[in-house]
């Protein structure tokens, strides 16, 4: 009897360690195997050299219905086009995982390691400096290193269109935006949005208010993470209390709280989604998405992997997605197509042309700079079949998504 009691804590600790290991393994397994969709589109051709593309997500996770999942789609598309390419990903549960995840892929001898998100900048830089022969690509950061390809987006341009659209669509003349974490790839959306509203006010002599972001002071509303939907929801409640009827969350998964709340409010307000067309990535909330500020991460990662296989990817350079090269764009209006006045649509289209032609210049302190290392010209091949482009910074057209 007594002996049994003495042994209990030891047995207990054994059970606890089973639980701990189980939890860790499951957490890792959740991150581990990609949904096997490779080679889905008919017979892929094999070209280039065998390439292993490896992607590390940031803390939003692979299913954030936002830029991580978008980037992964691009990786998968590259693999499905070319059977010599195989792709893998691993998820970062916290910022502490960035370094080990990157190093893990280094030891797996990946041909290209794609780091997703500006938050991973420091970790990627350290890893790239320690492994000069390993090729990296990073989304949303500019690392002037000879073995890093920087994929950036001038999202302010598309945000500008969204701001104009929101201002024109709002009946209460109050619109709002909030972010996940105050980092340049997030605030650049908000800068563009605020300027777009200001432009509307200027040309229409209107007084539409923007809540949630002060471009001059670079201060505003944030959920402080990319996963807490309930916080996103309560922030949007606060905006609605102040009269806002169009809200643009730039907060990854946390933004879904706003979409859910808008749906429960039965169309009292609408939402502008970001990164991936909301009607595709979060289709259940399509009825509340006025539009989406699309950032074509998928095409950019696809191109990067394809070019690695073709041997044309140049470290030290990068690409900048703009309205002109469809790297960023405003998604279709979907359910709102009949509700957005035709006149407003025309104005938004015109505005797009003006931004492309340079007649209107969109600025933001968070705007990407071309990488300053290597050949000096930031050039990328424009298509998944990796034909080297001749000039300019380019992200391929969104045909492959």
């Amino acid at each position: 009897m007594w002996k049994e009691i003495v042994l209990r804590p030891a047995r207990g600790m054994r059970l606890v360690s089973v639980l701990a290991v189980g939890g860790l393994v499951l957490a890792a397994a959740g991150c581990g195997k990609p949904p096997a969709k490779n080679n889905a589109n008919g017979a892929p051709s094999a070209s280039g050299k065998p390439t292993h593309g490896c992607m590390v997500t940031d803390t939003g996770g692979i299913n954030d219905r936002s830029f991580n999942s978008s980037a992964w789609k691009g990786m998968q598309a590259a693999a499905s086009k070319n059977s010599n390419i195989k792709v893998d990903f691993t998820q970062s549960a916290s910022e502490a995982d960035y370094q080990p995840n990157l190093n893990n892929f280094v030891s797996q001898k990946c041909d290209l390691i794609v780091a997703i998100g500006g938050l991973m900048g420091d970790a990627t830089k350290a890893s790239a400096q320690a492994n000069p022969n390993q090729k990296y690509a990073i989304v949303d950061d500019n690392l002037p290193l000879a073995n890093v390809f920087s994929i950036q987006f001038d999202t302010a341009q598309a945000g500008y269109l969204a701001g104009y659209l929101a201002a024109g669509y709002s009946k209460s003349k109050t619109v709002a935006t909030y972010g996940g974490i105050k980092i340049p790839p997030v605030t650049i959306f908000m800068d563009g949005f605020v300027d777009g509203v200001a432009h509307y006010n200027q040309v229409k002599n209107a007084h539409v208010k923007v809540l949630g972001w002060d471009k001059a002071a670079q201060n505003g509303s944030f959920t402080n993470d990319f996963s807490d939907q309930n916080k996103g929801r309560s922030l949007s409640d606060a905006f609605v209390a102040q009269g806002a009827d169009v809200i643009m969350p730039v907060a990854g998964g946390a933004g879904l709280g706003t979409a859910a709340a808008a749906q429960q409010a039965n169309g009292k307000y609408s939402v502008i989604w970001v990164d991936q067309d909301g009607c595709v990535s979060a289709a259940q909330y399509c009825s509340v998405f006025l539009s989406t500020v699309v950032k074509n991460v998928a095409d950019a990662t696809q191109a990067a992997v394809a070019e690695t296989s073709a041997g044309t990817l140049q470290g030290g350079t990068g690409s900048i997605g703009t309205l002109a090269n469809n790297g960023v764009q405003l998604a279709p209006y979907h359910d709102f197509d009949s509700k957005v006045p035709a006149e407003l649509k025309t104005e938004v289209d015109k505005l797009k042309q003006d931004i492309i032609s340079g007649a209107i210049k969109v600025t933001s302190p968070a705007q990407p700079m071309p990488p300053a290392v290597g050949s000096g010209t930031a050039s990328v091949a424009p298509s998944a079949s990796a034909v080297p482009s001749s000039s300019g910074s380019a992200v391929p057209s969104p045909s492959a998504s």
Partner: protein, 429 residues
Amino acid sequence: MATLTVYSAPGAAVPTTGFWTRARKAGLAFLVIGVLAAGIFGPLARQHKSARFTFTQTITGAHVDIPAQPGAIAFGLLCAIAGAILLAWGRAARMLVLLISLALVFLVLSFLCWQVASGRNSTVLPLGDLSNSTVKAALPLVFGALGGVLCERSGVINVAIEGQLLTGAFAGALFGTIFSSSWAGLIAAALGGVFISALLAVLAIRYLVDQVVLGVVLNLFALGFTGFVFTQLMAQHQDKYNFAPVFPSWQVPGLSRIPILGPAFFQGNFFVYLAIALVVLVHVGLFQTKWGLRTRAVGEHPTAADTVGIKVYRIRYRNVLLAGVIAGIGGAYLTIGDVGNFNANQTSGRGFIALAALIFGRWSPFGATLAALLFGFSTALAQVLSVIGSPIPQEFLSMLPYVATIVAVAGLVGRVRAPAADGKPYLKG
């Protein structure tokens, strides 16, 4: 130390003696802070006109306008006066709580006069919305802390509140969607919480594992397990597995029209009413019933309880499982009570804040609820200030809830005593 405090009421603050009583210390603090508030917020509000507070959930409707600078100074001085009374009076009594609350309210109002008036986007603060957001932010914490009360009063430390909340949120969304019924989700959530609780109970009570370590491991397990199912199943088929119906809001006729507090307490959904009922129920149960007396006895002195025939193990198992039900339901609020879908690590540390509320609330249901409301209020306040365009950088605003909690725990509550046998496994010998 333990022998000295055994005779004080369980969970009560350890009394201080001498001239510097708690009342005097708090009084001095409020006197200084009040004068500082008047001296700082007043001049800061100089070039601003007035702050408008509406009693509704929007920026229109019944309201008061308070001139910014006079308001900030007046409320700061009122806070100082309340502090001065406390300092002069110096005794702990019923008035103490009232005076401290008044001083706090005046302090917040002084701050708000400046903040709201200087809002870049809006100089209107809808108090109805503020109270509504406060309650919503506090709800999961209230459930979590109640679960903690049940466990710890019977002598089992519950660090696994986070895991219970998370499992509840997860099960609520998953089964709520599968059965397309929020009630099914609610039952599943309760069972999910019980699942974590059962592991906690068996390992802590039967296998005598260190309870803090165990709680941490259970949180880890819940995070891994829910995250795994979420990535593999729910996220890939959102409309089939992660799109649960949300509990509709029920209005209490008449009461829901009460300005400011009405929308928060009488226009919410099922969870709001359940939380109110549970707080009262647990309080009455704990302090007025046979079950409550036995629970507290087991938590304070299990050997003594055993000698008078109380079944220590049975009480502990029952309470820990019950705590799982409550915390699981609390987690479900995040999904089927609010946004209708689950996200990996959705609770984002709310369970740990609930644990803090439990300690801050001195292991009592009402205390823990007040603590949760304080945290909810500072969260809601930080949010609304960022929305109206406060000049304070958002990094500081988002610190507010945590700073408020630390100040409250360290400054106002003082030393507290946990149930004597909290975390000590009982061996029948």
